[in-house]
């Protein structure tokens, strides 16, 4: 890609990432949530790969697979605890609901939103990397 496109992408990708994080974290207050926010984050990272920018902190495949797995396990444990609490009427960990509309409210919903966002982002980036690698291998 030309240096113009690379510089423009380098400039706007942090803002796209910030918007994706906003959509994910504020999922319980405003429209959005983990699926939408994770897709935006993945779109930013895939845009970087399209124009050929290699950043140091860019996710590699091993990190993506680990992230997807650990996020899913974390989701299962968090929601499993909450589910058993509700079903058996025990207060193992008390999740305060807080003031509706505030950022820190709604119990574990923001945490679950963030985990879903991580799963979606890393799964999409990993799929893109897998197919991209194959295509690059066939060309040369």
């Amino acid at each position: 890609m030309t240096i113009i496109i690379q510089n423009v992408v380098r400039l706007i990708v942090p803002f796209i990432l910030m918007f994706g994080a906003y959509v994910t974290v504020y999922g319980h207050v405003s429209p959005g949530g983990g699926f939408a926010g994770g897709t935006i984050l993945a779109a930013a990272l895939i845009l970087e790969r399209f124009v050929g920018i290699n950043r140091k902190w860019s996710l590699n495949k091993s990190t993506c697979l680990k992230g997807v797995s650990f996020s899913l396990v974390g989701y299962g444990i968090l929601k499993g605890i909450a589910f058993l609490e509700g079903a058996m009427h025990i207060e193992l960990i008390h999740w305060p609901l807080g003031q509706p509309g505030a950022l820190f409210s709604a119990g574990i919903i923001p945490l679950l939103n963030i985990l879903i966002g991580l799963v979606v982002m890393m799964a999409f980036v990993l799929l893109f990397d897998l197919f991209n690698e194959d295509l690059a291998g066939e060309d040369h």
Binding site: G27, H28, V29, S30, P31, G32, G33, K61, S62, L65, V68, S69, S71, L72, Y75, G76, K79, A82, F83, L97, G98, P100, G101, S105, A106, G107, I108, I109, L112, N113, I116, V119, V120, A123, F124, L126, L127, L130, F131, D134
Partner: protein, 92 residues
Amino acid sequence: MRLTVSIFVAVCLAVVLLVGIVDFPEFGAANNPAHNEVMEKYIEEGVKETGAVNLVSGMILDYRAFDTFIESIVFFTAVISVFAVLKGGKIL
């Protein structure tokens, strides 16, 4: 021969499915089974019970959280399927 058999199977399946649709309640009617007290409970007490102003979030991450769990497992399954089918089972 194969074409005839496949057309026959497709037509049979379509007939069975269409017969199943005939008994469906009318779309949007007021006394449909979907319009029950659960809907009112979600709308009236959803914010109080889940604490989320965005009712959709409260729905998919509190009342139906395990549905969302399996939905995200679909992504994991997609990734593992690509590894299994295109990469010959080699992980990374």
